[in-house]
Structure formats: structure tokens, C-alpha cells
Amino acid sequence: MKFDPNGSFLYLVAVIIILFVIAQSLFFLIRAYKRAGVIGMDMKQVRKTIISTTIFTIAPAVSILLGVVTLSKFLGLPLPWIRLSVIGAITYELPAASTTANALGVSLSETISDPKAYSAIAWVMTLGIMPSIVLVPILLKRIQKGIFSIKNKDAKWGDLFITAMFLGMISAFLGMVFSDVRSGLVGWIPIFVLLFSALLMGVCGILVKVCKIKWLQNYALPISMLGAMAFAVVITPLIG
């Protein structure tokens, strides 16, 4: 069979995977939605969660699409489409593809034409990130048991423990924003963007709490994120 990284067979494989992901997401969405009703949750809030998450997801999803476009120049469209719809992130897929391509002496600057190199890259992309999916069914119950026993011994400390985990994650990403400051004013752009996002979130908080604009609460994160991204578009040419 003549190899084409944009061939119809590969699109068929991609469509099967995409349909599976949508089916799994719909299954858990419908199940959780029904459960919310059974346990008497405020269904208005549940619907707001769906709408605000949809709005919040658009910008990061477009950023993921950019990853698909980047990889497609070398791998064609179907494989990056599969990889970035399931498990993957561009931060992993690009090094996985480039390391294998380098090992095989294949150039990344043109569309791949060797089916063996292509299948090697597909294998590395798949196997190189397997623990993050295989370990979930193996470890999840044990991890939850550990958290449950901490909460059982001391409920307040159990809540603080989880909060501290969130804060550890947020701290790592906030710290990362400072990694470029030594490169001059350009390196400060991410910090200015971060501060602008924080400012927008603060303004939203004031509008919700002081001005009682309650509906804004669900949209504060998408507003601060999109506002800060727009701010990055404005300040980058001025600074850079």
C-alpha cells in the first residue's frame, strides 16, 4: 500500500479515536449531570458550569489546534490530530517526533515519506507517555484511599492537604513565568501578562462581591485569561 501521511486510512483511524473520546466524555457528562439531579444539586449552577467551561476551553483548545498545525507540516494531519485529541500535549509530542526522526536521520523540515519512520514515530509517541494512562486504573483507588484516611483522621487537615496540593501546582507555574526575566524587558512580558490577568480577576471579584453582579463569577476566569491574551498581543510589539 502506497504510504501517504494524509491518506484516507489514517483519517479513518483518527475518526474512530475521536468518536471514542467524544463517546467517553458524553457518557461521563450525562452520568454526572443525572447524579447532580439525584443528590439535589442546584441544576442552574450545573448548567452554568457547562457554559462557563465551554467558554473557558475555547482559547486553550485553539492553542492545541496550533500544535496540530505545527506537527502536521512534518507528520501530515491525521496522526497529530489523534495524538493531541488523546493524552498528548504539544510539549510531549514534538520532542517524541523529533527524537525519533533524529535517530532515523529523517529531516523534520519536510513531510515524512518513509512509512517505517512514520510508524516508529507513532510507536514512540504512544509508548513514551503510556504510564500517565496505565497508572490511573492501577493507582487511583489506592490514592483515594490514602486521601480518605487523611480526611478521616482529621477532616480540617484533610481539606488543607488538598488545598496545599493545588497551591503547590499553581506555585510551580507562577514561578515558571519568572524564568525569562534575565533576557531583558522581553522576558518580563509573561509577568506583565500574568499581572494583567490577576488584575482582571481582581476587578471581576470586586464586581461580583461589591457590585453584586453575580453572573460574572462563572465567567471571571475566561474573561481574565482572554483579556490577558489580548493584552499580550498589544504589549509584545511595543516591548519586543
Binding site: T49, A103, L160, T163, A172, G175
Partner: protein, 219 residues
């Protein structure tokens, strides 16, 4: 159905979905090899794996331990299949639980987190699919130099807002990990590429700080 049996059933379905996903994922390279009769041999695969597996197997293991308590049962089974956890699924779940005023590790938290992660997964999949179908029309916009800074700064734009919500409420716990991380990245900027490994480091520092403050009755 009580909470425990709901959770058990979620585990049951979750296991079926995630193991099916694993089999399907393995079928992708297998089907490529069979269809094109292109078996690459062990050497190039192992060579490629050597370049990525040490770091990404570590990061993957760390992510499972760190993120599953935040995502909940169904959220974990789904989020780890659909990926993009740090830049999308975890912030989506945290933000949704905060807005709904529910806590993780409660049934309400489980429901809201699942709804947020499932919605986010569906929207992402649809946007990527639409983007693939309309690539010719969208490429000039996506590759526009004007928009480039927006997508380059998506993480600071996301975590700036998220930090205000969490840090302002828990500033005493946040102070130590935050100072540690800022100093660390200022001293070793190259660590930016390994931020995934530093997430549990931040969490451990944060948990120790919280424990000390809690024992001293400062929280």
C-alpha cells in the same frame, strides 16, 4: 444509589473506558504497521523512547499522583485519556468547583469536576476536528504573527487569574512554595522545560508549610 455505590460504579465504568482507550491507542501504531506493511524494528523505537521516556514516564507518574485527588474518580478516568491536563483539564475542574462552591473529594465536587472535564474534552475535540476540516481557511489566522504572543502567553494568562482566587484565600500556605519557585526559576531558568517535575516539589513544600502552620494553629 448511595455515594459509595455511585463511586464504585464510576470506578467500574472508568476501568472499562480507560482500558479500552489503552487498547485503542496501541491499535494506532499496530494498524499503521499492518496497513502499510511498515514494521520499524525495535532499534529506532527504543532509540526514540530513550530520548523521551525517562522524563515523560517520570512526569506521567507524578501527574497521576498529583492530579487524581484534584480531578476525582470520573474526572481522572476521563482527563488522563483526553490529555492536556495542566493547561486545560485541571484548571477547568478547579475553577468549576470554586464557582459552584463545592470541594474536591466530596460527591458534589466529583459531579462538578466530571462535568467540567467532560465538557472541556468535548469542546476541545470539536474545535480540533473543526480546525482540521477547515485548516486551509484557518491557517492564515492561526499562523498570524499578530496572534502569536497571545498563544505564547496562554499559561501566564491562565495562572494569573487562577492564582488570585487560590492565593488570596490561602496566602499563608502559598507564601513558602511561591517564594521557593520564583527563586528557583530565577536561579535556574532552564528548569522551565521541566515544570511538570516541579509540580510535586511545589506540592510537597506547600504541604509541609501547611502542616507547620496548622500545628502552630495559624490556619
Amino acid at each position: 444509589m448511595n455515594k459509595k455505590s455511585y463511586d464504585n460504579v464510576t470506578h467500574f465504568y472508568g476501568q472499562i473506558w480507560i482500558w479500552t482507550a489503552i487498547v485503542l491507542l496501541l491499535c494506532v501504531p499496530i494498524s499503521i504497521c499492518i496497513y502499510y506493511n511498515a514494521w520499524p524494528g525495535m532499534a529506532p523505537v527504543l532509540e526514540g523512547l530513550l530520548g523521551v521516556a525517562p522524563i515523560f514516564w517520570t512526569v506521567g507518574t507524578i501527574e497521576v499522583i498529583t492530579y487524581t485527588p484534584m480531578l476525582g474518580t470520573a474526572g481522572s478516568y476521563l482527563g488522563f485519556v483526553t490529555g492536556n491536563l495542566t493547561n486545560l483539564k485541571v484548571p477547568s475542574a478547579l475553577n468549576a468547583m470554586e464557582n459552584a462552591k463545592v470541594k474536591s473529594q466530596t460527591e458534589e465536587g466529583e459531579v462538578i469536576s466530571t462535568i467540567a472535564i467532560a465538557t472541556s474534552s468535548i469542546v476541545t475535540t470539536i474545535i480540533i476536528a473543526a480546525g482540521v476540516l477547515l485548516l486551509a481557511q484557518l491557517a492564515p489566522i492561526l499562523n498570524s504573527p499578530t496572534l502569536k504572543p497571545a498563544f505564547e502567553n496562554i499559561l501566564p494568562a491562565l495562572f494569573g487569574g487562577l492564582a488570585v482566587v487560590y492565593v488570596s484565600k490561602n496566602w499563608k500556605i502559598s507564601l513558602t512554595p511561591l517564594i521557593f519557585m520564583v527563586v528557583l526559576f530565577l536561579l535556574v531558568p532552564s528548569l522551565a522545560g521541566s515544570v511538570g517535575i516541579l509540580v510535586p516539589v511545589g506540592s510537597i513544600i506547600s504541604i509541609i508549610a501547611a502542616r507547620i502552620l496548622y500545628k502552630k494553629k495559624l490556619l
